[in-house]
């Protein structure tokens, strides 16, 4: 039996460098949650289907459950904890709450990450753009309507 190979890496999460030693096959999600201790990012399906684990890698959404932690070194990782400015929510976060886009909340971190990336790339999206931008994120509560509305509201009044 060969032993798991550990790699010592530095992950830059929300602007902070975290030196960690992890198995080379470890996924980014588990390192963010367990080693770094940021538990806002969720594990849903653990199969790259649901989007609860979405983080930004150099500004683009990536399913962290299916991305090797070792491959993320040197890249800027943004989790949901990085969207607020201290206690001040981003406009998107505030709008999601006000529009009723949060129910159980489990999909919310991933939705916020995907929507943040969408608005950065497409500041004035159509509802179709929003649907495509959020198409990798599943929600079992809201029926999506309120989530799309909060993204559109954020785009209209950023």
């Amino acid at each position: 039996m060969t032993q798991p190979s550990h790699v010592s890496i530095v992950l830059t999460v929300n602007g902070v460098d975290y030196p960690v030693t992890v198995d080379q096959g470890r996924n980014l999600l588990s390192v963010i949650r367990t080693e770094i201790g940021l538990t806002g990012t969720k594990e849903g399906c653990d199969d790259c289907e649901c989007g609860a684990c979405m983080v930004l890698l150099d500004g683009r959404p990536v399913n962290s459950c299916s991305y090797l932690a070792a491959q993320a070194q040197g890249r800027a990782i943004t989790t949901v904890e990085g969207l607020a400015d201290g206690q001040a929510l981003s406009n998107l976060q505030a709008n999601l709450l006000e529009e009723g886009g949060v129910q159980c909340g489990f999909c919310t971190p991933g939705m916020l990450i995907s929507a943040t990336a969408l608005l950065a790339l497409t500041p004035e999206p159509t509802t179709e753009d929003v649907s495509i931008g959020l198409s990798g994120n599943l929600c079992r509560c809201t029926g999506y309507t309120k989530i799309v509305a909060s993204v559109m509201r954020t785009a209209a009044r950023p």
Partner: protein, 298 residues
């Protein structure tokens, strides 16, 4: 066990010569290893930062797409969207925005899934894979590369460096359609792609059709070359009949073999019609599935 992030192509090829397997976005390799289905290879070399594999270059001979070019880049590249529309149609349907950010054309080709969306367009467009190793470089047409599900004729030390596509003749157009049950994170039930060239009188000068998810590999429909000089409508119907006849699909949870055999013919007919409309200069935006309303409603 080892993990390295290659900074030069030579470094990547050396690691592969020593037994390492390449990983780009990990959207097949790492997802396949989730929940213990297929263990990760013991030795990995990350190739996603190799800038020499990330370029799209084009000239009179055609276009060369570096192996780590992402689906997102393909769907937003003006030349690929206009001259190789079928490929852009397919890349735009892959997974979700996050899948398209990490998933690469080289990974797609070398993963050799019979259901990959980009496979049929690449085959119809006449793509050739450039395989590199420390021993040298060779060009392999995709029909000779794909041997079965997940199986290629590449040697273990060979890395796909680029995909080459010939320049389309004047009067050409291409398209890809898939039958789908949902719009995102979907795998083709069946799919079909067509690359077509029209003569000045509007008849078909050349046509190629390839099929998704109806055989152990992506397959090209044989026998269509005899249809040169015929009108598009006739070629479209002939493609439908030939596609259904040549398909040998399996039944699984996504569809029965009979349903696949029938519906791949319908996809083939519709994709020939759409490719011909593009060849005639009509603007049918990418992805074609959305433009002509195939699949789930929004």
């Amino acid at each position: 066990m080892s993990f390295i992030i290659a900074t030069t192509l030579h470094e990547a090829l050396s690691a592969m010569a020593a037994g390492a397997r390449p990983v780009a976005g990990g959207s097949d390799l790492v997802v396949g290893a989730r929940q213990g289905r297929t263990p990760l290879p013991a030795d990995l070399v990350a190739i996603d930062r190799l800038t020499e594999l990330a370029e799209i270059t084009y000239g009179p001979q055609g276009v060369s797409i570096g192996a780590v070019v992402s689906h997102h880049t393909i769907t937003t590249h003006p030349l690929l969207v206009s001259d190789y529309s079928a490929l852009a149609d397919a890349s735009a349907l892959v997974g979700s925005p996050s899948t398209r950010n990490v998933g690469t054309i080289g990974g797609n080709v070398m993963n050799a899934s019979p259901a990959m969306d980009t496979g049929a367009p690449l085959l119809a467009l006449g793509a050739v894979a450039e395989l590199s190793s420390l021993r040298g470089t060779r060009l392999v047409p995709l029909a000779d590369l794909w041997l079965g599900p997940g199986l290629t004729s590449a040697a273990p030390d060979e890395l796909c460096a680029a995909i080459h596509l010939p320049a389309p003749m004047p009067g050409s157009g291409s398209a890809y359609l898939r039958l789908e049950y949902r719009r995102a994170m979907e795998i083709a039930v069946v799919g079909a792609s067509c690359a077509i060239t029209l003569a000045s009188d509007g008849t078909v000068a050349a046509v190629r059709v390839a099929l998704t998810a109806v055989a152990p590999t992506i397959i090209e429909v044989a026998g269509l070359d005899t249809l040169a000089g015929r009108p598009v409508s006739e070629v479209a119907v002939a493609a439908q009949v030939a596609a259904s006849a040549q398909a040998h699909p399996i039944s699984d949870l996504r569809a029965s073999a009979d349903y696949r055999r029938h519906s791949v013919g319908v996809m083939a007919r519709r994709v020939v019609e759409a490719a011909a409309r593009r060849a005639a200069g009509e603007h049918l935006p990418v992805p074609l599935n959305r433009t002509i309303g195939i699949g789930a409603a929004s």
